[in-house]
């Protein structure tokens, strides 16, 4: 068990995600591998959820491709700090592409939670919100209490916003949403009415 650090977040990750995804409507949600996938899945499986179980570092770019292809829909990427760090260059690519309908929420526990809770860079030296701002994201935020999470809920559905949510490092019971990628892909496309391409 790793020691608690002074800059650890305090928010309950499941509670935070349940606020962000309350009444999701037709929000298109892409989840990064590991706990972000479980946190979204445990709220109830939806056809408009695309869960990653691999492809680490790719979640934001999947969100971008989806946002470009579906400009009338809102796309929300929910991922962890480790996954976002691996795809940090994509913060530059997404900002440069200027998709107005894409937002990213990073559940930041400053840990690699799936692999033994090793400290990640966000608990050492890296500020992901500042990285995103430096890459050209004009709307960025960090939530440290539930009131701030509540305020993010509507912003993430209206703005091209990059938000960090400082969650506590404790582990939650694992929840297993579908991990057959071909099934989830086809179901997602059908939900959007894509029958042939």
């Amino acid at each position: 068990m790793s020691e608690t650090k002074r800059n650890d977040g305090t928010l309950d990750r499941r509670e935070a995600v349940s606020v962000l995804l309350r009444d999701p409507g037709d929000l298109l949600v892409v989840t990064g591998l590991g706990a972000a996938t479980y946190d979204v899945g445990v709220l109830g499986d939806r056809d408009q959820n695309f869960y990653l179980w691999g492809a680490m570092g790719g979640t934001a770019m999947i969100g971008l491709g989806l946002a470009l292809a579906q400009p009338k829909k809102r796309v929300l990427v929910v991922t962890g700090d480790g996954e976002m760090l691996m795809g940090m260059g994509s913060l530059a690519s997404v900002a440069a592409a200027k998709a107005p309908n894409l937002a990213i929420a990073v559940l930041d526990n400053a840990r690699f939670g799936e692999t033994g809770s090793q400290h990640s860079h966000t608990g050492l030296t890296t500020d992901l919100e500042a990285v995103a701002a430096a890459c050209g994201w004009t709307a960025t935020a960090t939530a440290r209490d539930m009131a701030e999470v509540e305020a993010l809920r509507s912003r993430l559905r209206a703005e091209p916003l990059f938000a960090v949510i400082r969650i506590a490092p404790d582990e939650k019971p694992r929840f297993i949403p579908p991990r057959d990628g071909a099934f989830v892909t086809e179901r997602f496309r059908r939900a959007l009415g894509i029958v042939e391409n």
Binding site: A55, G58, M61, G63, G65, A96, L192
Partner: protein, 172 residues
């Protein structure tokens, strides 16, 4: 600089294949395609910081009902390997055009290892590899390979040989 006509025909083949998202890490051999894509209002053209981003971008576009292509050079293929699990696992198309370095009249020894490994590592990662060597059939190769990718939902790479694109000339 005058544009070789085969590059125009490759762009037309991509348009005919209904490609409307282009991701790229620049290469001189793709310069005409990149310029044409940026100039086309029907195409979203996305510059990437690393090649694996392009695979994820393509996957997202496919989820949203659009066809995409990724442009890179052979030195970038090694950056893609784990991300190729995405189209393979999700039974999605992935279509990439790869300009080859390190094979025909290469000046830069640093290009040789990845150029040599490119067809092998792509194949090992589950990508179907085709190779275009001649200007007169490259557009047909691109069109048929795009159909293979998008209709059969598989990853396909077309390698543009260094002989086709012309070896980069370094002036000392």
């Amino acid at each position: 600089m005058e544009t070789p006509t085969w590059q125009e025909s490759v762009f037309r083949a991509l348009k005919a294949a209904r490609v409307s998202v282009v991701g790229y890490v620049p290469d001189a051999g793709h310069a005409h395609l990149i310029k044409s894509a940026h100039a086309d209002p029907e195409i979203d053209t996305v510059v990437l910081t690393t090649e694996e981003e392009g695979i994820a971008l393509s996957a997202g576009a496919w989820l949203g009902g659009k066809r995409s292509v990724m442009l890179m050079q052979s030195s970038g293929v090694g950056n893609c390997i784990n991300m190729l699990s995405l189209p393979v696992t999700c039974r999605m198309p992935f279509f990439t055009l790869v300009t080859m370095r390190g094979e025909w009249g290469e000046f830069n020894p640093w290009q040789v290892p990845m150029g040599t490994a490119t067809p092998h590592v792509l194949t090992q990662a589950g990508v179907h590899v085709r190779r275009a060597d001649h200007a007169d059939d490259v557009a047909e190769m691109v069109g048929a390979s795009a159909a293979l990718a998008f209709d059969s939902h598989i990853p396909v790479a077309v390698l543009f040989s260094q002989r086709l694109i012309g070896a980069k000339v370094f002036v000392k």
